[in-house]
Subunit: 483 residues, 2 copies
């Protein structure tokens, strides 16, 4: 969203009905809410946290306009005292988050809100909407880029995105996840990322013939001349016409500096290999072969395994919608409450018959343990926020479900990093957003902290996310005290 | 989008590179582009056209700001003459569209743009983005509502939508497709649709116990009291506590007028039947049982077949993302060109080895043929825009692929309706948008023009979409002339 957009009413109605209840009952309670997810999307071994910049914009702009208040009044559910409170509403709490571009794992708080209960409740929906969407697309993009083994991936999905924001913030997330650029111009302008693209079939069809269309395009853009060769017949018409134009440009001494062809239909393995031979034989071994057409990480992986001669990939629908897994199941759960008369937070837990749905109670943080030698992640530790660790000391970690699965990290062999950083303190933003391209670079480093086994597209090795001993004990105590 | 948002740069970069080429080569060519799709989403027998209101807003607001032009200049791809043209750009063409809420079928132009080539090219991406997204969600919503057989479906997906717009325009589309309302407050405010919702688990958890949480909620909202019963244990704690609160409210003479429970986890068939018995036994046969939890049309259908005692459904993720089919494959294809020296349009065709990807050439329209007696759709006819039909005369229609499949509609037995209506003429909007709730009502009527066989969730009967004889002949002529 651009900085002026006000999303205060981008919320589920029940946040407001609950707020009115809190307003009457417990306006001064301070609560801790965690935003976390339970399962990596697309069978991935990790996810990429994304969307924090837009969460920050959202929080900064939180305020109910007169129009908003009038609208809420018209619903006949809210009293004047509460509406009056809304009219003066602003966010006064603390927010901690894992920086955008970080690799993250299930159950870790990606964002933690510590605020008066009404404020913390209101922001649930928009915060989840933003983080769920962008984390989903960044994760998908990182998978597509992994499949391409260093080839450039261009984000081309705007026309199939789920609305304008999905196109624009989705493109932002895709670049953070590893794409080299996007076709989406508004994203380029807003986030300073490269915009890419050449021409469509309509360009070819608007000329009397394919050759003329290519020729005009090459004359117009001699420095970035990728010709779309599949309008009529790729191998019989498109590639020969492209070669003819390259020959003529060369003869005129105007040979394009970056040039090549784009395939957009048909069997990309077969066509690219044939086209490569034709281009090489004509003396254009440096002509790039780009491809698009319903690509995703699995198809790119398969095409590369078949020796497709493609080195540049335009990925649209399946990336911008994360088609095989179009939602990131982030949730936002109450973890602790401090009443005005209390000094400490009281941990809260949500029970479920499904152990995976029982929440982790208390005011928490996330520590990441790295192997000092390799720089790779050893495990993550969800802990209470006041725990401290000393890298010089041995650290025993254990699995929450199978508690006999234990491992001791010898002191000096690991590094420890707290993943949650302060973003808002007492309502003031204390976080400086990096640029999108800086986040992209950071994300590449983050991905390098994973073993290849975890990056594998199918059935990856899981990274251990354990609970600290104090958190584990607290959780057991609360679970047992319910019976 | 609210009316002020400017999406001029919400476009693929190649639209702009092509525009600059057209600007030099053929600025005065007038073209016809069709937006259509090739396959109904989710295996549906139809789709619902949606998004026109936002397309109209988009076209009305088309203009490049100084900032936009500066940004484009910075890319070093565009010359000053072209940038100067962009600075004064506005849309001067004609747009025809099938009204929102209409049932539509593959290959029919949903939107037709007749405009100078640069203008028609620019609008491709945003137009597709908007229509693809909203048509996808409206179609999905109509399926979910069909499965619910008259029960109310509430759209609850904002937190899992692909960004803010996907939540808001998605909720609009879901209501048009048949939902009774949405949890999304900004959608309620912007489009005048009902907003719905009660409370979350956090409400329950913020009180010392479930009973107190229920009691406070019932006192606060005596007229809309749906209690979420699954925070601790649905049948042992949630439902008994709800009944206790209803009993107390009744005893105090404050019995809620609309009241009930919501199930959000566990086996909804089992739990709803058990809860129904408990509520009935306690004297609350009119207590509504609402349910949410990863619902879609298939699960609702299955739960209803198992006799689940649920009459109100909150559908989130799977509806707002159309999870089983998260994109609507709308495309935008050049169909005809008129050069300044020509009087008539010259039809254009895009060839493909895949017959389904060969475009329908020429300046076209869509006629819908209804059986006069039943009011149901008999077939659709894609035709050239200057064709006329007389309902009193016999009309022979035939299948484009299997041309021996013919059918004659006797004169007087059918009604004919032109589906495309003018929206912009010479750059002026000539269309009055109905309200969202009016479109919803129209959509219900549209759905009634389909036989149940076509509405079936799985493997539905296809509606015939034929080409008129003149269009068929033109297409054959163009195909044959290429060899």
């Amino acid at each position: 969203m651009d900085e002026k957009r006000n999303f205060t009413l981008l919320t589920d109605f029940y946040e407001l009905t609950m707020m009115q209840g809190y307003f009457r009952e417990k306006a001064d309670d301070i609560v801790v809410f965690d935003a976390f997810y339970r399962k990596n999307p697309s069978g991935s071994g990790y996810a990429i946290a994304c969307g924090l910049e837009q969460v920050i914009d959202y929080i900064k702009n939180l305020s109910f306009s007169y129009e908003d208040v009038d609208y809420l009044r018209s619903l006949n559910m809210f009293d004047e005292e509460f509406l009056n409170y809304l009219a003066g509403f602003h966010f006064t709490g603390d927010i901690y988050a894992i920086p955008e571009g970080s690799v993250v794992f299930p159950y870790e708080p990606l964002v933690k809100v510590v605020a008066p209960i009404m404020e913390a409740q209101l922001v649930e929906t928009a915060l989840l909407n933003i983080v769920n969407h962008q984390s989903l697309i960044a994760t998908k993009a990182s998978r597509v880029c992994y499949a391409a083994k260093g080839d450039g991936i261009m984000e081309f999905g705007l026309r199939r995105a789920q609305g304008p924001d999905a196109g624009t913030f989705g493109a932002r997330a895709a670049v953070i996840g590893g794409c080299v650029g996007t076709s989406n111009v508004i994203c380029g302008k807003q986030f300073g990322v490269p915009v890419l693209g050449t021409h469509a079939h309509s360009w070819i069809m608007s000329f009397p013939d394919e050759y003329t269309a290519f020729k005009r395009y090459a004359e117009l853009y001699p420095d970035a001349c990728t010709l779309l060769v599949d309008t009529y017949d790729t191998l019989k018409s498109g590639v020969p016409n492209a070669i003819r134009v390259f020959d003529e440009m060369k003869a005129e001494g105007k040979m394009p500096t970056r040039y090549g062809i784009r395939l957009d239909s048909g069997d990309l393995a077969y066509l690219s290999k044939k086209a490569r031979k034709m281009l090489d034989a004509a003396g254009y071994p440096d002509a790039v072969i780009a491809a698009s057409s319903d690509l995703d990480e699995y198809l790119i992986n398969s095409l590369k395994n078949q020796g497709a001669a493609i080195t540049s990939w335009g990925v649209g629908t399946n990336l911008i919608t994360s088609a095989d897994n179009p939602s990131f199941g982030g949730v936002y759960k109450l973890a602790a409450i401090r009443k005005p008369e209390d000094e400490e937070f009281t941990a809260k837990i949500k029970i479920s018959e499904n152990p995976a749905k029982i929440t982790n109670p208390g005011n928490k943080t996330v520590f990441r343990l790295y192997n000092k030698e390799t720089g790779k992640i050893k495990a993550d530790l969800i802990a209470l926020s006041d725990e401290t660790y000393n890298e010089a000391e041995d650290l025993e970690i254990f699995d929450q479900m199978a508690t006999w699965k234990r491992s001791t990290l010898p002191g000096g062999s690991y590094e420890i990093r707290e993943m949650l950083v302060p973003v808002f303190l007492k309502g003031q933003c204390v976080y400086q957003n990096p640029s999108t391209m800086e986040i992209r670079e950071y994300c590449q480093k983050e991905l390098n902290t994973l073993w290849d086994e975890t990056r594998r597209l199918v059935n990856p090795q899981e990274v251990f996310v354990d609970l600290s001993k104090p958190l584990y004990d607290l959780k057991q105590k609360l679970l047992n005290s319910r019976h």
